[in-house]
C-alpha cells in the first residue's frame, strides 16, 4: 500500500526525517510510535502529499506522492493531529461538507461510518466546537472516512482523549480494517502500540525498528527488573549510584532497571538497605514496548 524509500526532510537545517524507508501492506493497521518531535507529523504530511520530501520517494497505492498528488488526494482520508473541523458548523454540516467536496454524499457511504457516527448522531445539531474531546475525534474520523478512502492517515488521533474513548476508538479502527481499509496511525502512547498489527519506532527522524509489537518486545535481550520503594526520589538516586546497573527509568509506581552484565538482585537489595532504603522490593518483569523503546533509544539518547 505504501512504499517509502530513503525519505528525508529538514526544515531550515533541522532534520525532521532522516532517510526513512518502510513498507505498509494492504489492510494493515500500522502504527508510528515515538515521542513529540520524532518526525511523525512530517512523515504523515509527506504520505498525504502535503509536503514534498527533500529526497527519497514514496509510492502510495502505486501513485507517486509528489507527481500524482491530485490522484492521491481523491483516495486518502487524513485526520490531522489538531482538531481541524469547522467549530462553528454543526456535526451534520461538517459531515455533509466533507462528503460534498469529495464528490459524494453521506448516504452513499453511511455504512462505513455507521458504528462511529451513531455515537454522535444524537448531537448532530450541535456545533462541532462544543463537542467533547472523544466526540470530536469520532466526528473527525467520520469526516475522514466519508469518501470511502482506501487509506486513512491518522495523526495522533487519541491525544487528549479520555481512556474510555481511546479504547473505543481503537476498536473502531479494528472494524475499519475489516472493510479493507489500510490505517496508518501515530501515537506518543506506548501502551497503544499493542493494538497495531505492526509498528515502527520513530526517534529523531529515524526508524529504529519495524516489526509486530510482540516481536519488538521479544527483541529486548536482557532481563528487566522493577524496583519499588516508598521514597521514589531517593531510590532513583541510589540506583543511579550503583555501578552494576545499566539503565534506570521511572515507570509509574516502579522503577525499571537493567544490569550491565550479570543480574545482581540480592547485592542490589543489600546495597540499598546499606544506603538507608530498607523497603526496596525487586521483581523480574516482562518488558513492554516502552521498555524496548527506551532501550533502543539509549545509544542515541545517552
Amino acid at each position: 500500500m505504501i512504499k517509502a524509500r530513503n525519505i528525508s526532510k529538514s526544515y531550515n537545517g533541522v532534520t525532521a526525517l532522516d532517510s526513512i524507508s518502510f513498507d505498509i501492506n494492504r489492510a494493515e493497521l500500522f502504527g508510528f510510535i515515538g515521542p513529540d518531535g520524532a518526525g511523525k507529523t512530517s512523515l504523515f504530511r509527506i504520505i498525504t502529499t502535503l509536503l514534498i520530501p527533500d529526497s527519497g520517494d514514496m509510492q502510495v497505492m502505486e501513485y507517486d506522492t509528489v507527481k500524482d498528488y491530485r490522484e492521491l488526494r481523491k483516495r486518502i482520508g487524513y485526520m490531522p493531529g489538531r482538531f481541524s473541523l469547522y467549530a462553528d458548523l454543526t456535526v451534520e454540516e461538517n459531515l455533509n461538507f466533507y462528503a460534498t467536496i469529495f464528490g459524494t454524499t453521506v448516504k452513499e457511504n453511511y455504512h462505513l461510518i455507521r458504528d462511529i457516527y451513531s455515537h454522535i448522531e444524537p448531537f448532530k445539531k450541535r456545533q462541532a466546537g462544543k463537542l467533547s474531546g472523544g466526540m470530536k475525534q469520532k466526528l473527525a474520523l467520520s469526516c475522514a472516512l466519508i469518501h470511502a478512502p482506501k487509506l486513512i492517515v491518522l495523526d495522533e488521533p487519541t491525544t487528549g482523549v479520555d481512556a474510555v474513548s481511546r479504547t473505543e476508538f481503537w476498536e473502531m479502527l479494528k472494524k475499519l480494517q475489516k472493510e479493507d481499509i489500510t490505517i496508518v496511525v501515530s501515537t506518543p502512547y506506548m501502551d497503544e502500540a499493542d493494538r497495531c498489527d505492526r509498528i515502527a519506532l520513530l526517534q529523531s527522524g529515524k526508524i529504529m525498528k519495524t516489526d509486530t509489537p510482540g516481536a519488538i518486545t521479544k527483541s529486548f535481550d536482557r532481563n528487566l527488573f522493577a524496583v519499588t520503594a516508598k521514597n521514589r526520589f531517593n531510590l532513583i538516586q541510589k540506583l543511579k549510584e550503583y555501578s552494576e546497573i545499566d539503565t534506570v527509568y521511572p515507570f509509574g509506581d516502579s522503577i525499571h532497571i537493567t544490569f550491565k552484565s550479570v543480574d545482581r538482585e540480592s547485592e542490589l537489595v543489600k546495597h540499598l538497605s546499606d544506603s538507608g532504603i530498607s523497603d526496596a522490593c525487586i521483581t523480574e518483569i516482562i518488558p513492554g514496548i516502552e521498555d524496548t523503546f527506551l532501550n533502543l533509544m539509549k545509544p542515541a539518547g545517552l
Binding site: 498528488y69 469547522y86 464528490g103
Partner: protein
C-alpha cells in the same frame, strides 16, 4: 460544480453564524450613513449673516428686514465696502453675505430686474447650500408679494450665488462614494483575507488540501459569497443615502453595478493576496487595516482632496484602487456621466484586478511549506 456549491454553502454558514461578520457587513455601512446623516445638520436656525447694501433704498431695507425677521437668520453686521467681506467671514460668526447692487431699488422699479449677490462660506458645503437656498426662497416670496411695484407686473430679482473657499462645492455628497469605497474594501479584502487565514490557523486548510478541491475552487468558493454580500451592501448604502439624503443615482444603474462588481473583484483579490502572504488571522487583519484601510481613507481623495496633496502622495495614491473607484462613483452617482468619462479609471482597475488574480492563484500553495 456540486463541489463548488457545497463550498459556497459552507462559507455562507460561516458568515451567518458569526455575529461579528454580520455586524461588519451590514452594521458599519448603515451606521456610517446615519452618522453622516445626523452629523450633517439639515436644519438652520439663527445663522449669522451680514449685509452689504450699496443701494440703501426703501426696497433693500425692506428685503433686509424680511430676511432678518425670519427664524433662520440673524443680522450680525452691516458692511460698508466689499473689502470687509473677507474679514467678516474670517471672524466665523456669519454664514453668508448678501450684497445689493448700487441702485437696486431704482433698477427694480424701472426695469423690473435687479441683481443680488449671495456669498456663502463654501468650506461647509451643506450649510452653505441650505442658507443660500433659504435666502433665495425668502426673496422670491417677497417678489411675488410685491409685484405691484413695477408697472408692467413683471419683476425679478436674480440672486447670484458665490461660494467662498470651495467654489464648486466639491465635497458635497462626497461621503457617499467615499463610504461605499471604504466599506467595499473593508468587507471584501479584510473578510476574505481573514476567512482564508482562519482555515490555515484552524488546520482545516490541511484537510481541504488533502481533498480533490483545486485552488481555484477554494479561492472562488471564498470569493463568491462575499461578492454577493458586497453587492447587497452596496445597494443598502445607495438605498439609505437615497432615503436619508435624497441622493438619487444620476447615471446609469447598470454601469454603476458593473463598475462596482469590477471593484469588488479587485478588493477580493487583494484580500486573497493578503491571505497568501500572512500566516495568522491577526497578521491578515493588521495588513488589511494598516495596508488598506488607512491609505483608502487618507489617500483616496475621500477626505483630503488629491489636488492639494504633496506630489509624492499624489503619485502614491495612484497605486491605490479606491482613488480610481471614487472618481468613477462620483461621476456616475453625482454627475451622471457615462463610460466615456471614466474609461481610463475603469481600465486601470481592470489591469490591477488581472494582476492580483494572477498573483494570488500563482501564489496559492497546494502544499505546506
Amino acid at each position: 460544480m456540486k463541489i463548488f456549491i457545497g463550498f459556497v454553502k459552507k462559507e455562507f454558514l460561516h458568515i451567518f453564524r458569526d455575529v461579528r461578520t454580520l455586524i461588519i457587513l451590514f452594521g458599519i455601512p448603515a451606521s456610517q450613513i446615519f452618522i453622516f446623516g445626523y452629523a450633517v445638520s439639515t436644519d438652520i436656525q439663527n445663522a449669522g449673516i451680514a449685509v452689504l447694501d450699496l443701494s440703501n433704498d426703501e426696497i433693500t431695507t425692506e428685503i433686509t428686514s424680511r430676511i432678518e425677521s425670519s427664524d433662520f437668520f440673524v443680522l450680525k453686521e452691516r458692511l460698508q465696502s466689499e473689502k470687509e467681506i473677507d474679514e467678516a467671514f474670517k471672524k466665523g460668526v456669519i454664514r453668508q453675505v448678501i450684497i445689493f447692487e448700487n441702485g437696486f431699488g431704482e433698477r427694480l422699479q424701472k426695469e423690473g430686474v435687479a441683481d443680488l449677490l449671495i456669498i456663502a462660506d463654501g468650506s461647509e458645503p451643506n450649510v452653505a447650500n441650505l442658507v443660500t437656498g433659504y435666502t433665495k426662497s425668502i426673496i422670491s416670496t417677497w417678489v411675488s408679494e410685491n409685484s405691484n411695484i413695477q408697472n408692467s407686473g413683471i419683476m425679478s430679482i436674480e440672486p447670484e450665488v458665490k461660494m467662498y473657499y470651495n467654489p464648486n462645492l466639491e465635497s458635497q455628497f462626497m461621503f457617499v462614494p467615499g463610504t461605499i469605497t471604504i466599506i467595499l474594501v473593508l468587507v471584501c479584502a479584510l473578510m476574505t483575507s481573514i476567512t482564508i487565514t482562519r482555515e490555515k490557523e484552524n488546520g482545516t486548510m490541511e484537510v481541504l488540501l488533502v481533498s480533490p478541491l483545486r485552488p481555484i475552487h477554494i479561492i472562488l468558493g471564498k470569493v463568491a459569497p462575499y461578492l454577493l454580500l458586497s453587492l447587497l451592501v452596496m445597494l443598502v448604502i445607495l438605498f439609505l443615502s437615497w432615503i436619508v439624503f435624497h441622493l438619487p443615482v444620476q447615471g446609469s444603474m447598470v454601469l454603476l453595478l458593473l463598475e462596482t462588481i469590477l471593484y469588488i473583484v479587485l478588493a477580493l483579490s487583494l484580500g486573497i493576496m493578503i491571505s497568501t502572504l500572512s500566516k495568522t488571522t491577526q497578521q491578515a487583519m493588521f495588513i488589511s487595516l494598516l495596508g488598506l484601510m488607512m491609505p483608502t481613507i487618507l489617500l483616496s481623495g475621500f477626505i483630503f482632496p488629491i489636488e492639494y496633496m504633496p506630489e509624492v502622495y499624489n503619485y502614491l495614491s495612484m497605486i491605490i484602487p479606491p482613488r480610481w473607484f471614487i472618481v468613477i462613483l462620483k461621476n456616475i452617482l453625482i454627475k451622471g456621466t457615462g463610460l466615456a468619462f471614466i474609461w481610463k479609471e475603469t481600465l486601470i482597475l481592470f489591469g490591477m484586478t488581472i494582476f492580483l488574480i494572477a498573483f494570488s492563484v500563482k501564489n496559492f500553495k497546494v502544499r505546506q511549506q
